[in-house]
């Protein structure tokens, strides 16, 4: 499977995701944001970081970069797109995913491992997970508080477009297990066609037992399935 990772000035998880992809046997290429064409890819990853120093709004400037037109074109023709953390913020700024990420409710940058629940395992990204499986994945963000209008929230629920929800280790989804104030504890969402996933947690940080755990592995093996 071929993947491309888009690199912006200020991206800082681009190499982590490249290492994770290569470990999972993806043939990966890095693509600079000023490029106007993409190598043939089955998966395009928009990585985490602080593209353009979070100027204006997180992801706003990167969302208008040269390569984005090509990403949008590929997304519309069914290519799989994964946006992690700042990548999720960028995808909302491009309009590929609806809603937005507000500043964390506690106004602090949060960097810790949290529990999330797989809400829908019948997708290209999650088919190797059990339904309602609880994962421990790292989050590291200042703007992760997912917000959208009521019509879209209804659509997310009705069409099973919520990918992950923050929960506690027993799987309870409530205010205490919500680290950043996200609507309905949402940690990740799909677009209508479910070929685009945006998520705040970092699965690429959880692919090695020695440095963390392997809870992120199945996201990549699902894609290979």
């Amino acid at each position: 499977m071929k993947s491309s990772v888009i690199v912006f000035p200020g991206s800082n998880c681009d190499r982590d995701i490249a290492v994770a992809l290569e470990k999972m046997q993806f043939k990966n290429k890095m693509v600079w944001h000023k490029d106007t064409s993409l190598p043939k890819s089955d998966l395009i990853v928009i990585p985490g970081g602080f593209s353009y120093g979070d100027y204006l709004r997180s992801g706003a400037i990167a969302g208008k970069s040269l390569i984005i037109d090509e990403v949008i074109k590929q997304a519309n023709s069914g290519c799989l797109i994964l946006g992690i953390c700042n990548g999720f913020q960028i995808l909302t700024e491009t309009g590929l995913l609806k809603g937005t990420l507000l500043q964390n409710k506690n106004l602090r940058f949060i960097n810790r491992d949290v529990n999330i629940k797989v809400v829908n395992n019948k997708t290209k990204f999650t088919n190797k997970y059990k339904n309602e499986e609880i994962l421990k994945i790292n989050i590291a963000h200042n703007e992760g508080n997912y917000f959208t209008d009521t019509n879209h929230l209804e659509e997310l629920n009705k069409e099973n477009l919520i990918a992950f929800k923050y929960c506690d280790e027993k799987g309870n989804i409530n205010e205490e297990s919500n680290p950043n104030g996200s609507l309905e504890n949402i940690a990740g969402i799909y677009n209508q066609k479910k070929n685009i996933l945006g998520m705040m947690p970092h699965p690429e940080r959880m692919v090695d037992e020695i440095i963390s755990n392997r809870d992120g592995v199945n996201l990549f093996s699902s894609l290979l399935n």
């Binding site: 204006l56 500043q103 106004l107 917000f147």
Partner: protein, 79 residues
């Protein structure tokens, strides 16, 4: 021609920064304070003599980049 653009969070969107600033001012003894909403301010100069055309251009800038219409409102003023 110069314009100012003020961007604020919509009234039903929580503004935690505004709240913290408000609480701090209250703690400093500013007791008559009722509410604070924090926002952004842009000063934009355009090379255009026709005000209607210029306003339209600024409006386009707001909609395409400066403002996230899901959560923010904006006001354009000539200065």
């Amino acid at each position: 021609m110069k314009f100012s653009v003020t961007v604020t969070l919509k009234k039903d969107v929580l503004d935690p920064q505004g709240k913290v600033v408000q609480n701090t001012l209250v703690n400093m003894g500013m007791n008559n304070l009722k509410n604070i909403r924090q926002g952004k301010h842009f000063e934009i100069e355009v090379d255009e003599n026709n005000e209607t055309v210029a306003q339209k251009k600024i409006d386009e800038m707001c909609k395409k980049l400066l403002v996230n219409l899901i959560i923010e409102d904006y006001k354009i003023n000539k200065i």
